[in-house]
Symmetry: C2
Subunit: 369 residues, 2 copies
Amino acid sequence: MPLVKKYLFPAPVLLDYMTRVLAAAGVSLEDAAIAADVLLSADMRGVASHGIIRLFPYYSRRLRDGLINPRPQPVVLNETPSSLALDGDNGLGHPTGYRAMKRCIAKAGESGAAVVTVRGSNHYGIAGYYAMQALPHDMIGLSFTNASSLVAPTYGRTPILGTNPIAVAAPAGAERPYVLDMATSIVPIGKVTVYERAGLEIPYGWGVDSQGRVTTDPREVFYGGALLPLGGTAEMRGYKGYGLALLVEILAGVLAGSAFGRTVDPDAHTKVSNIGHCFAAIRVDAFRPLDDFKGDMDAMIRELKDAPKATGQERIYIPGEKEFEKTERSLSEGVPILAEVVNHLVRDGEEAGVPFDLEPVGVKEEVEV
Amino acid sequence: MPLVKKYLFPAPVLLDYMTRVLAAAGVSLEDAAIAADVLLSADMRGVASHGIIRLFPYYSRRLRDGLINPRPQPVVLNETPSSLALDGDNGLGHPTGYRAMKRCIAKAGESGAAVVTVRGSNHYGIAGYYAMQALPHDMIGLSFTNASSLVAPTYGRTPILGTNPIAVAAPAGAERPYVLDMATSIVPIGKVTVYERAGLEIPYGWGVDSQGRVTTDPREVFYGGALLPLGGTAEMRGYKGYGLALLVEILAGVLAGSAFGRTVDPDAHTKVSNIGHCFAAIRVDAFRPLDDFKGDMDAMIRELKDAPKATGQERIYIPGEKEFEKTERSLSEGVPILAEVVNHLVRDGEEAGVPFDLEPVGVKEEVEV
């Protein structure tokens, strides 16, 4: 994989810039700041595909084109002591998701566990952000969203399901929390792009061509093909990944009453997306004393990390661990943004009247993803 | 894969036999009948690895050896309107799980959504059985359990996590319900045994040898090696499967306060297992009108089934669909039990004083699994 140039920017400066761009597109300062924080969090955690790269194409431009409502008035559709169904009124997914999860946590605080759905929303960035909101409340948080069709069901050949992520966060004691944030496809489509640009073949099983045959040519996945769900081929039990992708579609799409399947975001440039989300929160001390839980989480984490390593490997990671380390590095040395993305930001910022005139604090060369 | 002989038995006859065996081991008739129904359900659904094959080694023998409590008195540890933590008092996992899910459904009926954990339990058979209990109540049901260590974490080489299943059932309208019931490993260990007996290599990625290297030799997985989580290698994103296996360990092990990691059932022949479960139920009409949900479930299912097929494929399946068809076949032609398993039942039944003198209604030759 070839090296690419990345500029390093201080986190607060990026946060401020993104907030200004969204506010300039009509969003309230409060909502803009929440959305900017979710996007920044992605870049800091090393999930650049979901960060500032999306600021203009996914959000600013859709706001300006009238496809996202800059001043939504979310509506309660149904409510019980441990459930809540919301309509996001076509607002940005990030503030909508953030507030939905906040209400989910409040409900779990009262009743022990709660589930909240949202329909009429938009791309909300990294699913893990919302799951992690539960951590300071000593709860387990879950977050699901559906997304544009990119993944073929097992034995199919056309993309029907989204990369539909599952995110779960659980607190620990002395150890860092467990934070799983995974697409239910093997890789996101952006990873296939990276291989294409590098002139490399993709590993066998990541995707299929237009006839549903596994292909190692990234272009065949793009043009008429599809991504495969986690697992890949049927022999490797890709139908489990397909089952999980469909589970997310049921929770975030069908249960929420939003779009589902191929009707999700069929054409990002001309239609309202009606994406759906689902959140859940589980209050740990409704089940057992918090200190006992945290002590056992630490013991479980240490058992895994201290276990014998495979030949050639030096570490066993806990889900979320790499992302915590990247966040710390982003805070100390600056948040890495691809030089190519910076070029786009300069062009798009000028067009939107919010020039990207930020000064990098450093530069480095790294493998792209 | 070579053909193997299977005898066909009427379902009620198998149910009666298993109930008698468990009752003879000291279990109440009511509990014995529940456990027998879960085991029978596995054989009927085509999950023979979790069916009658386990009757003696997993249950009857452990009951007789004093490792499972035949007359448990489950205890409520903590309770809120939408949560419940139980101690199963070391009873059979099936009646314990069945009743825990029943209470979970009752709680979700009152409050909209509920989560129930169980510690101090035993192997509960197929996870999907409990998730499916939610279906007649028009709820989405979820069921998780931890299990003996068989799966290595990504970059590890020793088994630490169980094959920790995730099961979810969601009702539909005219279509059959969605029923996902998946181990978070690629395959169960029994599948590796089948390949070993057939003298075949296992596909690359299913398991590792004692040094953590991927191996295609089933014996190397058994003797000092481990299964790999869904996805397989890191390149194929096996760390997502590992993350899911750990999620189940957190919900069913750490949150429940049961054993977790390598302490789960370290030696089935001499120790109490202290397995844990976690159940959840979500009342659909707490979120949106039931008919709307079911209509959209049907539409989603049809969209998938009607989608273009990959070259050489004729059907796209919905999770659970194959198992419903196998259940129907089991009801019409008899439940298939491996001839080899029948031999074991005859031997073990005699030893236990409950002779396996059932008359098969047919015989057939099939691929083993």
